[in-house]
């Protein structure tokens, strides 16, 4: 079955090239069918791969360049259940987005399809690659496709600004990553992750490795929109067409986290795995991201920008899970990724439906205008509850596993901060839903700032198809927490993912895979704390949403006190998210220097 991994890249890329070449020969509908079929076939193969990877490591050496005497020569895709699962989710979300786009976007459809397929191939390649420079190639490939897709609606300035900010910050991240590769290569003389890890496990780590790790991780964190590198994300996701947002926000942002975890457990666990410094920095970055982005989400009125901050918030929670550096934390991040990708895609799909119905997606302008749209409303609220993580809904199981990891490590305060983040983001989404679909609250709220300019899209949509796709994504996402056996399999996948020496032995020396334990097929139960926190977060989100809707009815002394204490921080927060790319680049340098400085202090000596 080692022939499957290259196909996950080859099928979408070849289809992208061929549809462009045959554009003037084939009718539009046939092309649509080919594009969707290619994406669906990729997804199906990813599921087959997932099934196989359960009991072995599927390693493919490109060009047949097997390692000789334990020295890697070529490029390998090394696929365990975690990487295969990622590919499956990526394929699923891209396929849904392509089906959604069939009637949603008419203009320049051929170019759009080609870029979406290229992004799909690149993301799959990234998730499976076991070679440091090859990761960089896929990272750049998906980025190039994403920049152009973000600027899709070139008739307005907003998309251009969003694409410029996205392109410049992420390119800079790519360059930092390239410098990191050069440093690692100078030290180890290898580009294969398993081999770099092997080399670094002998001898002292030193400043070179710490700096290289900083540059490589910061490159990924820029892609993953972690504070203070997150500023571009809200600009880019606010302006891209809804199905593009579903792919960017649902899966491409998470790619950064896949990179961080892959690199940590194949390479940097070797020199730094004995301490907790690397993980602690990631954990703190994740918690700050979760709370800050949750707050920013609450201050938005533009639905896609609100969703962008909600994405950043959940990315923060996942990074915190990875930063715990244990298998339940990683398994939790993994399960959260599954649910979050589908639910976020569903929410962006609903935003697109509102856009095509009313020509705008501003929470206040849409006040009460979507009363009676039951299907979109149901999708919106279900997805929101799933993203908050009410008991056994949506991200709950993943969040619960992260909680377990934090409790085992004796850091119970992590739980409180993370649940606060998801409650804040959830409150914003609940408030917007209640305003738009139920007509609750007031039609004006100066707290939410200025409206963004937006143009109506093409109206010629097949609405039932859009609604069906949105519902499908949400139903799948909501059900993740109650799929029997999924939790146990995620933990098993995480365990395997974290076994650095086992991975290296299988990849470099072709060692056989130890027998797979038989895993139970029952619903994974979580701790009582998680249940309490999850319930609390749901109640808190509802309360905050009500406060957002009816804050003028609060007693006067409360509003005055709140205004006095919160006005300045909110002003500062908004100022920082300035939309000016020069500021973002300054933040990138400060952030990289800060992360590197902290690691230098903690890891040296």
């Amino acid at each position: 079955m080692t022939w499957i991994p290259p196909l996950l890249v080859a099928i979408p890329l070849l289809t992208a090239a061929v549809t462009a070449g045959l554009d003037h020969v084939t009718p539009r509908r046939l092309q649509d069918a080919i594009v969707v079929a290619a994406s669906a076939a990729t997804t199906a193969l990813a599921f087959v791969l997932l099934w196989h990877a359960e009991s072995r490591e599927v390693v493919h050496w490109f060009g047949g360049w097997q390692p000789r005497h334990g020295v890697a020569l070529g490029i390998d895709f090394a696929v365990g259940p975690l990487a295969a699962g990622m590919c499956a989710v990526i394929g699923l979300v891209v396929t849904l987005a392509l089906v959604y786009s069939l009637t949603f976007l008419h203009e320049a459809a051929r170019l759009y399809d080609a870029l979406m397929l290229v992004a799909l191939g690149a993301m799959c390649g990234f998730a499976m690659s076991g070679d440091l420079f090859n990761l960089f190639v896929w990272l750049e490939l998906m980025a190039v496709a994403a920049y152009a897709l973000t600027g899709f609606q070139v008739e307005r300035l907003g998309p251009v600004q969003g694409a410029v900010n996205f392109a410049i910050t992420n390119s800079l991240g790519g360059y930092l990553f390239a410098i990191g590769i050069a440093l690692i290569y100078a030290r180890t003389g290898s580009l294969n992750l398993a081999q770099i890890g092997d080399t670094l496990s002998h001898g002292p780590a030193g400043g070179l490795v710490i700096v290289a790790m900083t540059l490589l991780f910061c490159g990924f964190l820029i892609k993953g929109a972690i504070v203070p590198f997150h500023l571009w994300a809200a600009d880019a996701y606010a302006v891209a067409p809804a199905p593009v947002c579903a792919v960017l926000g649902g899966v491409m942002t998470d790619i950064g986290l896949i990179g961080v975890s892959r690199l940590y457990w194949t390479v940097f666990d070797a020199p730094f795995g004995h301490g907790h410094a690397v993980g602690d920095v990631l954990l703190w970055l994740g918690m700050v991201t979760a709370v800050l982005a949750g707050t920013m989400a609450f201050l938005q009125r533009h639905l896609k920008r609100m969703l962008a901050y909600s994405v950043v918030c959940h990315i923060g929670i996942m990074l915190a899970g990875i930063g715990l550096l244990d298998s339940s934390g990683l398994a939790g991040a993994e399960l959260m990724f599954l649910a979050h990708a589908l639910l976020t895609a569903g929410l962006f799909f609903v935003a697109g439906i509102l856009h095509s119905d009313h020509g705008l997606i501003d929470e206040l302008h849409l006040h009460g205008r979507a009363r009676g749209c039951w299907a979109p409303a149901a999708a919106w609220f279900a997805a929101t509850i799933g993203l908050i993580g009410a008991p056994y809904v949506g991200i709950y199981l993943g969040h619960g596993l992260i909680d377990e990891g934090a409790t085992e490590l004796g850091r119970p305060w992590v739980l409180a901060l993370l649940w606060l983040g998801s409650a804040l983001a959830g409150a914003a989404l609940l408030r917007a839903g209640a305003r738009i679909f139920l007509g609750w609250g007031e039609a004006d709220d100066p707290l939410l700032g200025q409206a963004l300019e937006e143009d109506p899209l093409e109206r010629d949509v097949l609405r039932p198809l859009l609604v069906a796709v949105a519902l499908a994504a949400v139903v799948l996402g909501v059900a993740i927490s109650v799929v029997p056996g999924l939790g146990q399999r995620a933990e098993y996948a995480a365990d395997r993912f974290q076994d650095r020496s086992g991975y290296a032995a299988r990849v470099l020396r072709g060692h056989p895979f130890p027998a797979t334990p038989s895993l139970p097929v029952t619903i994974r139960h979580t701790s009582v704390e998680s249940l309490l926190y999850s319930g609390g977060a749901t109640v808190l989100a509802c309360a905050l949403a009500l406060v957002g809707l009816y804050r003028r009815r609060l007693p006067r002394f409360v509003t005055v006190a709140a205004r006095r204490t919160l006005a300045l921080p909110i002003h500062v927060l908004r100022e920082v998210h300035s939309g000016v790319v020069g500021d973002y680049v300054a933040w990138v340098t400060v952030g990289t220097a800060f992360v590197g400085g902290v690691w230098a202090l903690l890891l040296h000596g």
Binding site: W3, P6, L7, A10, L13, L14, A16, A17, V18, A20, G21, D23, H24, H60, F62, G63, G64, W65, V71, L73, G74, I75, A108, L111, Y112, A114, L115, V118, A122, F133, N134, V137, W138, L141, V144, Y147, A148, V154, E155, L183, A186, G189, L191, G206, G207, L208, V209, V211, A212, T214, D583, A586, T589, V590, G591, T592, A593, F594, G596, G597
Partner: protein
């Protein structure tokens, strides 16, 4: 955020980054003392195993051929992306003014000579890439540049066939898609994706290196067409082709 705050942030960030770089450099092996092993192993095995005298190209198109496949698609995606981003620009250009044409015969003559030289150099770089320095990318850029020169110094009609997307798109597909197909062919024959399938030939001759030669040509086509489309997309937004009636005057 005011510019002062930004400069302050930037200054402190760069200072910190500079310190990190200095620390990293202190840990590097001294210049010229690099110990390998990866590249040195390839220097020893690529010529005997693949009959490719230019080990860099052997690395690019065989040992690390997957990177180059990604690179081809980066180029492809950027052409598609730039076309997407400039589609409004191209639409509005029709309202813009006309270009001046170079009327001077000497300029034309020099131009034509340069086009010829450029095409020859480009083709030479492509053809001998896996033997001597050069290769699909370099040759492709030079060839595309020469063709664009034809457009700039000569009559615009000369360039028009090359600008025709109906003609160019299939080539782009053949170039970038061809790379994938060579990979898939190897996979279908029961070996690994992008494995070298064909006879290796004599080192130093054009018929050497097996699949490397084919991949080199695929990437040469892909790069030439991509560059041509890219340049055209930018020049098109500036220079307007002449209407048929005044082209003859």
């Amino acid at each position: 955020m005011s510019r002062q705050v930004r400069l302050l942030l930037l200054g402190s960030g760069l200072l910190g980054l500079g310190a990190l770089f200095a620390w990293a450099i202190a840990g590097l092996p001294a210049f010229g003392d690099y110990q390998g092993p990866y590249g040195f192993v390839l220097n020893r095995i690529v010529l005997p195993l693949r009959h490719t005298t230019n080990v860099v190209m052997g690395t690019n198109f065989d040992v690390r051929g997957l990177d180059t496949m990604g690179e081809e698609f980066i180029l492809y995606a950027s052409v598609v992306g730039v076309t997407l981003l400039l589609r409004d620009e191209t639409r509005t250009r029709l309202a813009e003014r006309r270009t001046r044409r170079f009327r001077d015969d000497t300029v034309r003559l020099v131009g034509v000579a340069m086009v010829g030289a450029g095409l020859l150099i480009g083709l030479w770089l492509m053809a001998f890439g896996y033997i001597t320095p050069g290769g699909g990318f370099q040759g492709g850029v030079v060839t595309a540049g020469a063709i664009v020169l034809l457009y700039l110094v000569g009559n615009h009609r000369d360039y028009r066939p090359f600008r025709n997307e109906h003609l160019l798109d299939p080539f782009e597909a053949v170039g970038a898609g061809g790379y994938v197909i060579v990979g898939l062919a190897a996979l279908a024959s029961g070996t690994a994706f992008l494995a070298n399938l064909f006879g290796l030939g004599t080192p130093g001759m054009l018929r050497s290196s097996g699949s490397i030669a084919i991949l080199n040509w695929a990437s040469a086509i892909a790069v030439t067409v991509a560059m041509l489309l890219l340049f055209a997309e930018f020049l098109e937004t500036y220079v307007v082709p002449l209407e048929p009636e005044d082209a003859g005057s």
